[in-house]
Amino acid sequence: MKIAVCVKQVPDTWAEKKLKADTSTLDRESADGVLNELDEYAVELALQLVEANSGEVVIVTMGPERAAETLRKAISMGADAGIHVVDAGLGGSDAIATSAVLAKALEGRDFDLIVFGSESTDARMSVIPAMVSERLGLAQVTFAQKVEVEGDTLTAERVTDYGFDTLTATLPVVVSVVEKINEPRYPSFKGIMAAKKKPVETLSVADLNLDAAAVGAGAAWSEVADFAARPPKAAGVVVTDEGAGGTSIADYLTTSKFI
């Protein structure tokens, strides 16, 4: 089986949290770039499937130079190779452009499975897997909490608002996974050393035969007019329970008309 896993470098959520304790505004620039947590589950699924069926796992990312660290991190979990799409013209790409780049990078490589996380912790759109599947004309099995492959048949459970749907499709399939699916492994020392020597292909927009005008900030089909930090919440009242804590909350709820 030949499996691609798309991973994204995102600002560290924990670094952001520390910042928020000291300042009322958010400075994401200074946060470290880390592997999107949800994508670790995607890598883990790919590794487990290859361990059970043999094959190869290729990590694919689109991102600036420093995203190469994230690519290596994902490879160090046990993958075989990487593809890094990096180009100064890609900055500011929206989901539409990102999906076009990823689709081009994945196209024609005979992947049986293309695995995504269900969302990136910064963009939180959850649309890239659907867009890539649309562009490639491949079956889409997303928000999976369970994935099994037997021969060329994939069976999965898609999480829904009311429970889950059991889905089947024939390979090749685009998959996105939710975090309930598995427990991602930590890279071993051996994995980290081996990752340094795994082949990584670096591709530019021109290498992908994509029109430079179709990607980057200038090509975004939505534009931000303005943004502002949410006004900091006025500090609330915190009391220590000395036997009447529940009653004091009830009083607060009465005053604020909830009861």
Binding site: M125, Q140, V224, T247
Partner: protein
Amino acid sequence: MSDVLVLAEHHGTEVRKVTFELITAARDLGTPVVLWLGSGCDDSTLASLGNFGATKVLVVDSAEVSDHPVAPGAEILASLIGTMQPAAVLVASSADGKEIGARAAIKSNCGIITDAVAIAPDLTVTQNVFGGSTIVHSKVNHGTPIITLRPNSVSAVPESVTAVIEHISSDISDGAQLVSIVNRNVVEKGARPELAEADVVVSGGRGVGGAEGFGVIEALADSLNAAVGASRAATDAGWYPHQYQVGQTGKTVSPSLYIANGISGAIQHRAGMQTSKVVIVVNKDPEAPIFELADYGVVGDLFAVVPQLTEEITQRK
């Protein structure tokens, strides 16, 4: 006025509250026309859609739509964008809504904005991003704007019109039928309100200590007619079902009142509840970060505080 196409979110005949919110939001932008995929649009659902201002309900009820996820819906939506040229398309920020919107955006060369909390008449969209810490205003500048709206951000306001139903036929391509739904597993819902739609949410975390501990959380929820939520620590431990998880990888909720019990307030949890209007916290650790969000907090043992609160509410009602 131009049409505004609204994708109905429903489970059989049960119309999701967000559908009424979508129709309400659409009224500010044009004439609401609802697209209903699958079965369930009977006389009473049709009337309920009309009660919020839907003038027309387009129904595609075929096996192709019911037996395959997402892709058929996206094909229908894209074809309607082409024929109707609506001013905008509004869908819910659910898994299906976002993905149908995303695929239709690619097919129709339209821009898409997800997780809107408000839409102005000029189609400027307000979003709360980065876990609710930043407010962004943005606009689609290419094609028909496709906008996904978060449940509970716009209040559904009735405006009675008579909705007419129109059955439309669908030619679904083979490429949109590559995935089959072989079974729909519906988890027993119970009498409480839907988590993502609830006006009041009472949540429990690791501090609840076990599945039995959720009894006190449920009792408080029931006294307030609230939905029950849980942190990932609680759902991972199997104390409460996964679909009640609140947070980055669970549901995003934005209720008028959120009561967090025995939850520390990890960034991933906060990402799913940070925009709640009023937050109450019960936690025995005064240093728990969740207190930063509290309008009112009690440092104490939830097993003492919560039952007392429930008792007080029951008496005062």
